[in-house]
């Protein structure tokens, strides 16, 4: 189980990116963090990945405190971040150096098969399309068999068609090892397609606004009524989360105007 306890992040310039985040994610659960820009979703993911340090609070994975990158936690970034000097297969194998060569080969081949890029294994990342590159990045994270996989808006730069096919690829890969997944997204459809639970976040400072269970049966029918209803529920929550600070803003503006008047 992954649990975040009173997690707070304040950047050096005083920006409060996250304030008192409490969240626990069950094993094999897929959780979507959703919210407008600037609500600290990416920051939260970087903390869990151990790439940044929390200002206060703790991250625990099965009673282990996470302060630096952990072997059981993998991450897929917003960009593919493939190493341009390695072939597709070597990129996928990047985190498997500790394994024996046959084991490594088997895992990489299997993963490439799964994401449908087996015939491209000897090519360079530059020869792949954006969607293919992102698939390689996802495979790179999966082959290490992490217990927790963090996805930082990995599909946001792709067109709707590619995105839909990547959702499929992700779920087939997930079925194999069933890791815990924390997905950051600003796409409500995506959240409802993939997640068991949606966590709606709120900006300034980043905090959790609401949690919505998405207990639809898999595979999910995107045209069905339950799907539509869930999307609407998340959208409503998202709307509320964004509206609350809006009500404060006029007052803020008044104060600034008053200051100028003086």
């Amino acid at each position: 189980m992954l649990s975040l306890e009173h997690l707070t992040k304040i950047y050096a310039d005083g920006t409060r990116a996250l304030a008192d985040i409490n969240l626990s994610v069950r094993e094999s659960e897929i959780v979507a963090l959703i919210g407008g820009s600037g609500c600290g979703k990416t920051t939260l993911l970087r903390l869990i990945a151990g790439l940044d340090k929390a200002s206060a609070g703790a991250i625990r994975l099965d009673d282990e405190t996470i302060t630096e990158p952990h072997p059981a936690i993998g991450i897929v970034f917003q960009e593919p971040r493939l190493l341009p000097w390695l072939s597709v297969a070597d990129n996928v194998a990047f985190g498997l150096e500790a394994l024996s060569t046959p084991e490594r080969k088997a895992r990489v081949e299997h993963a490439l098969e799964k994401i449908g890029l087996a015939e491209h294994e000897r090519r360079w990342p530059r020869d792949l399309s954006g969607g293919q590159q992102q698939r390689v990045a996802i495979a790179r994270a999966f082959v290490a068999h992490p217990k927790v996989l963090l996805l930082d808006e990995p599909f946001s730069a792709l067109d709707a068609f590619t995105r839909a096919s990547l959702h499929e690829h992700l779920l087939t890969l997930w079925e194999e090892t069933r890791p815990t997944v924390v997905l950051v997204t600003h796409d409500v459809q995506e959240a409802v397609t993939l997640a068991d639970r949606a966590i709606v976040m709120q900006p300034k400072p980043g905090r959790i606004f609401d949690e919505l269970p998405l207990s639809l049966a898999r595979p999910r029918d995107k045209t069905g009524l339950p799907f539509e209803t869930s999307v609407r529920r998340v959208l409503t929550a998202l709307d509320h989360s964004l509206n609350t600070p809006h009500q404060e803003q006029p007052r803020e503006r008044d104060r600034q105007a008053a200051a100028l008047w003086w």
Partner: protein, 284 residues
């Protein structure tokens, strides 16, 4: 599962097209006849000058016609004199380049990868860089004598700075995003340097080595001007003192060929290391 299958077919189709198309197109572009356009100007000038001298329109004593330069070059080659000079020059450049580049790589690497070392080293090196390298000549001659050592030292100094700057700069500008990939997979400092930093800096490092090599050829001339009994630079000075402009021009042509050859050799021998680069130009 149908989505999976269609996306498979789609990716392989697209992949196949991408695999087949660009290399052909690129090859066709490389053999563009317009490349020959570049030869037009120098050849035209050479032919015109040759004709002007032949028909007595110009004397051609101070600016010898191409045929005479060519004859001189041939004569120097036949007596074996040219090869002695070429070898002497090449040897100096090579030793100086290896020393200077090694120093530049080591110090540039240290200064680029460790903040403390950079703060310690960089200001001094930058100050030394501001000194025109030729200004070292008298000191080098006093310290190292007038033979090979002082010449090689001058060349090494000339090569050192561009390599140092290039390597340190390349390391400092490595994409943080790629470094984070290494961190996520918990690479040690050494592994991070080997698996991410080194390949990432290679293209820039090679460019700095190339400019270092170019400077090496520049400084070998300066070094050979200050007193040498062989080398292409000596041929230049000798040509000036003996009033033989054809010999000077022959030496200049030899320099041009040699420099281009050495540069191409460097580029070709390192090309496999940077083939992965996604760049506009295939050839430079």
């Amino acid at each position: 599962m149908t989505g999976h299958a269609t996306s498979n077919a789609w990716s392989s189709l697209k992949g196949a097209a991408a695999l087949a198309a660009p290399p052909l197109a690129e090859k066709r572009r490389t053999f563009d006849g317009r490349v020959l356009l570049g030869f037009f100007l120098p050849i035209a000038v050479a032919v015109l000058w040759e004709l002007a001298v032949r028909f007595g329109l110009a004397q051609g004593r101070l600016v010898p016609p191409p045929s005479r330069i060519f004859t001189t070059l041939l004569a120097l080659a036949e007596t074996g004199e040219l090869w002695t000079h070429v070898w002497a020059t090449l040897w100096r450049v090579l030793v100086g380049f290896v020393l200077g580049a090694a120093g530049g790589i080591v110090l540039g690497g240290l200064s680029g990868s460790a903040e403390t070392i950079r703060r310690l080293l960089d200001p001094t090196l930058q100050a030394l860089r501001a000194i025109p390298s030729i200004a070292w000549v008298p000191l080098f001659i006093l310290w190292l004598g007038i033979f090979e050592a002082s010449k090689v030292a001058l060349i090494a100094v000339g090569v050192f700075f561009p390599v140092y700057l290039g390597i340190a700069g390349a390391i400092l500008s490595v994409d943080r995003k790629l470094v984070e990939v290494g961190q996520v997979f918990r690479l040690s400092r050494y592994k991070l340097a080997k698996r991410i930093l080194l390949p990432a800096v290679l293209p820039e490092a090679l460019i700095s080595l190339r400019s270092g090599l170019g400077l090496g050829f520049m400084f070998v001339v300066a070094a050979e001007f200050m007193g040498a009994s062989e080398g292409l630079g000596y041929l230049l000075v000798d040509g000036q003192q003996m009033g033989k402009p054809d010999q000077i021009l022959a030496a200049i042509i030899a320099f041009a060929l040699l420099g281009k050859l050495a540069d191409s050799l460097l580029v070709f021998s390192t090309r496999p290391l940077v083939r992965w680069q996604d760049v506009v130009r295939e050839r430079l």
